[in-house]
Each structure stands twice: as C-alpha cells, then as structure tokens.
Symmetry: C2
Subunit: 344 residues, 2 copies
Amino acid sequence: MPLSRPSLVQIAEQVGVSPATVSRAFNRPELLNDATRERILTTAKRLGFRPNRVGSSLRSGSTKTLGLLLPTLANPVFAACFEGAEARALEAGYSVMLATTGYDSQRERTAARSLLDHRVEGLILTVSDPSASATLDELTANDVPFVLAYNESDRHPFVSVDNRAAAGDMVEHLAACGHRQLAMISGPLDASDRASKRLDGVLDRAARLGLPAPTHVSMPRHTAADRARLRSLLSSPRPPTALFCSNDLLATAVIFELAALGFRVPRDLSVCGFDAMAFGALMVPSLASVHQPSTEIGSQACQELLSALGGEGSRSLRLPHRLFGGGTVASLPHHAVHPSHRYP
Amino acid sequence: MPLSRPSLVQIAEQVGVSPATVSRAFNRPELLNDATRERILTTAKRLGFRPNRVGSSLRSGSTKTLGLLLPTLANPVFAACFEGAEARALEAGYSVMLATTGYDSQRERTAARSLLDHRVEGLILTVSDPSASATLDELTANDVPFVLAYNESDRHPFVSVDNRAAAGDMVEHLAACGHRQLAMISGPLDASDRASKRLDGVLDRAARLGLPAPTHVSMPRHTAADRARLRSLLSSPRPPTALFCSNDLLATAVIFELAALGFRVPRDLSVCGFDAMAFGALMVPSLASVHQPSTEIGSQACQELLSALGGEGSRSLRLPHRLFGGGTVASLPHHAVHPSHRYP
DNA sequence: CGCCAGACTGCAAACGTTTTCATCGTTGCA
DNA sequence: TGCAACGATGAAAACGTTTGCAGTCTGGCG
C-alpha cells in the first residue's frame, strides 16, 4: 500500500541492480538475462511500480500523446470521431488529449496552445476555416504535425468526405423526388467551411440540373432553428418544397419549429439533413440525410497523423459518403419521377 | 521560426539572466524587477517560448491534469458530462485527459492505469458497479483522489441524481396517466448500477402506489432494442400499457422497433425514457423522460475533485432531477385521473 | 559610519526516466 | 593461446523545469 508510488531507483535498490537495468526490463526486455528480468518484474509488481511517463517523456522527448481539438461533443458526429481516433491511437500505444472549442476561433487558439504545452506529438483538429486559420499557421510555424478532420483544404492534410459532391447527391435525390424549389439552411457560414462547401454543392448541382437557384438561410447557431427566419422563408413568393439543412441536429430543430408553425413533414414540406447520425434513422419519420463515416474519419485521421509522426508523410483522404433516403423527404405527387432517379 | 521550441535556458542566455529568473517571470512575476520581467517576457514571445509542462510537471510533481473515464461518448449524456467537467477544469487551470471504456470493466482498468501513468492528479469516472469495482479498489489503494459521476455509492464520493427517486417519479406520472401495468426495459444490469437503481425505484414506487408488479426486460445492449424480446413482452397474458426505458437512446430504439411490430406510440402503447437528452424534446411526438443535469454533473464532479485536491475533502452530491412529460406518454382515456396527479 | 532589512537575482540540486559508452566476463574460433 | 565478438550490466549525463538557500546591492536608520 505505497503512499507515493515508488520510482525506478527504489526498485533498482530493492533488486540490487542499477536503474538502467530496471528501465530496460520494461523497454527492452530482450536485452536482459531472463533471471534478472523476472526478478525485477516481480518486485516491481509487488511494490506497485509503474514507470512514470512524465520522467520518461522528458528524457525521451516523446510523450506518446496526441491532441484532439473539436468544436463540440454535443454533436454526435464529433463524439464518434473522438472514439474512432481514440481507438486507433490506443492500438498504436498513444493516448489522446481532447479539448473542445465551441466553434470559437479564440478558444481554438488557446486550446491548441494548451495541448502543445503538454507536448502532444501531433494534432487532429477541426477548424472554422482552414484557409485562414491563425491556429493552423501557428502549428505550421512550430512544425507540429497535424491532420484536419472534416475540413477540406488544399494546403493541409485532411480526412473528410467530399462535402460538395455529397450535398450535390442529396440535391439530385430531391430533384428525383420532384422537388424544384429548394432552400439550404445552415448555421453561420464563417464558422464552418463544411456548411459552405455543402452550400456550394447545392447551388452547383441545382444549376446543373436546371433547377431554379436555391435560396440560402443562415441561422444564428449551428444547431438551433430560428422560427422567424423560417417563417419568412416559407412565406416568400415562391416558397421551397424541400429544406436541406447543413446538419442533422439543425434538421431536427427545423422539423420541430415547422411543427410549431403548422407545417407537417413530409406532407407539407420535405426536410433533409447531413451526417446521418444514428438517431435520425430511429426518428419517425426517419430523417433523410447524407451519411459521413465519422468513426472512420477519426480513426483515419489518427492513422494519417501516426504515419506523419513515423516520417512517412500523410495523405489527404476523402472517405465515401452515402445517401440515406428517409421518410422526411416525400415525392411530389404531381410530378412524374423518372424511375432511374429513385433511391432505395 | 524555431525548428524545435526553445527552452528556459535559451531564453535565459538570450536575456542574460539565470534560468531561475526566467522561470520566475512566468510563475512568480511579482518577485521580479519590472524591467527584467519585461525583458524576459518580450524575448520569450519573440522566440516563441512556452514553458514545457513536462519538465515543469516532473520537477513540481504536479501535472495540472485530471482524468475522465466514461463509458462512451456515443451517449450524449456523457458527452455533456465531459463538457461540463472540461469547462470547470479549464477555469481552475487544469487540463483534462479523456478515455472511454465501452462499459467494459477490463478496459475500465487498463484505461484507468494509463491515466494514472500519465500522472493525472485525480479522476472523474463512471463505473459499472461501484460496490465491486477492481478499478476503484486500485484507485483507493494508490491514494488517487476520485469522484464518481452518475454512480451512487455510500463508500465513495459521487455526483449524480437520485436514480431511485427519479424513476419513482416517472412511475407516479405514468400512474397519474392511468397506467397500471408497467414494464421496465434496460440493458444488462450488471454493466450499469444506474439501471439497477432505476429498476428498484420503479418496483418500489409501483408497489407503494398499489400497481401490479412491473415486469422487467433486459436487452443485450444498453442502446439497442431486441425485437423478439419486445414481441414476447407484448404478447404476454397481461401486456404492459407503458414501457419505461432506462435511457433515452434505448427508448428511441424501442419506439422504432414498436413501429416495426405495428404498434404506434403513444396510441397503442406509452413509452418513456431517462436522461432527457436535448434530442428527445425535438422528437415528434416528444419523448417523455426524466432530466438529469449532465453538464452540471460533470462540472460539479470536477468541482468536488478539485476541492479534494485542495485538501478540503469532497462531498457526495445528488443534483435535482426533473420530470419531462412528453407526447410519447398518453393518458388512458377510460381512467379518471385525479387532478393533483397532472404534470405540466 | 555601521548595520540591517528588503529587493532582486543566481547557484545548484533535485524530479524519474532513457541512453550512450564503457566495463567485464565468456565463448567461439583460428 | 590469443583475439574478437558477444551478452549482460553499470555509470553518468542528459531532458526542462522549480525552488531553497545564499548572495549582492540598495537605501534607511540609529
């Protein structure tokens, strides 16, 4: 029952060997005589010794720790990302230090600094705008390896889906269901490049399909729907028949507010989201959405970071997305829908 | 553009003072002559110096880091707990190291060990069974301060709601709505003492109210509903009219499976959950549930841990729960409901 | 003038490891 | 027999801080 955990040297004294030998018993066991190794290991266990990573990190210069910097865990997408990254890190013998930013670029910087102060060896992070991020500049200047998650960038390694294409696919689905007048609903665009890319994808694909230009409504927060803005959108001269929300949390909030405004989904209006969180599939009606593989985004980002640390450099990855048709999108009855446009 | 970040001594050399003085410039600025302090701080900034916490931790014996050990972040309850704890820790100048256990007591132990190896100064954790947990024993033996979150225990400090009472209150609500034959649905009881306490609460309160003894069905996982078990429950001689699920995720899954079995909620069957995750309020119909203040559980647990570290000892706290009536629970029409039993 | 307090700073020893280099037997082989 | 090579271990110097102690200098006061 050791009051303060024993150190290497205490074990060394007990066993009657040098500290170096004890260290080797844990790190390079094959170097030791079987007998000594056993002797060391047993007394170590008896005294409840575990090597102090602080000392080890200081001397070796490696903390075996990765930093993870995400907007919020309230969005299950990021929670899954963490779990993916954590699992992969664990396999590689790394630990993970998590910090959240609340979509705030100020906190983004201070949190990143804090992680660096702890001497994490690299970072996985999601930033507001990777093309103009003080945090990323700082990381680059300090030669800290990092991999972006969810962000897309042509200057930095990232792991994400192809947000443009994914949003486009959803537009295609909506069009196939007979919708022509679309609206995109998002949070503040400057706090999420994902939302921007998705909006681009929506506009682009709509144009390509010959639909009238979708309108865009920006909500004050990423996950809450403002009733007034919603009302004014729907009372415009040519109101949309389908609302594409930039994430599932927002989509759910929108559906809720629509109910309050007297609109029923999907009878009066179709709604879809993005992320395909597990929850959406259980909603009644189920939420139409585009699935992005968050756990894999986390684990792959971790994988890329690890190989960067291993000196192999890291690629950027666009993982496949998948369209989830759902009950919240209805086919407009008065439109003939070409069979090839149907989704399962 | 420093290739490897400079150290205290480099700054000291640059400025022409001793390392001790540089250290003081950051930790005890009031001890220094204003001029020297300024000189140090500016060159430190110029060279991009930030004190290395590894060295600092080693020497001072304090890492200013807390460990957080939770079952899974896939449950928003725990995600919120993290955010609460993180925020409080940040205020106190602490960082947080998070690890998840997946409800697995094996991983529970190894993850706790890993956190201790990092020399976290204390732990906030949720275990399967606090009354028989090898992990807790180990923590106690090593004199590591810790606070349980969500668990209740008479041997260890904890922060939670009163699960028994909370579950009881929901039973009361159901009874007030005219339900008499209840069923409790949970995951494996041995992996969650919360579920056990809630079941106790249900049985106890039902007995007290003179209801027939509720049946209990255990699902293989905490968040997934097994269709077969559900079917057999509902085809029993006296099927329940209301299902109390031990958490909201499970409740949602149950509602989904019920739909597949042809039951509509709440017309054919009432369903309620526990946790009152934000999401449930947005469901249509909204999910009846018992709210537990997860963010506060996290921040208060952190608070208690901090005061334990400060030597003040830590209390156990039962935070107030709150009943959320919701659309998934219907009043049985053929029952007169006493007005005093109504909930807002 | 002498002395002391106080303000400021430096010296050097830790903290718990890892790792290079050296040491010392032993063994294999010519 | 001599020598190289090898296996097993130790000595000691780092890694970047913090901190008790001691030192220097200044000014104030008797």
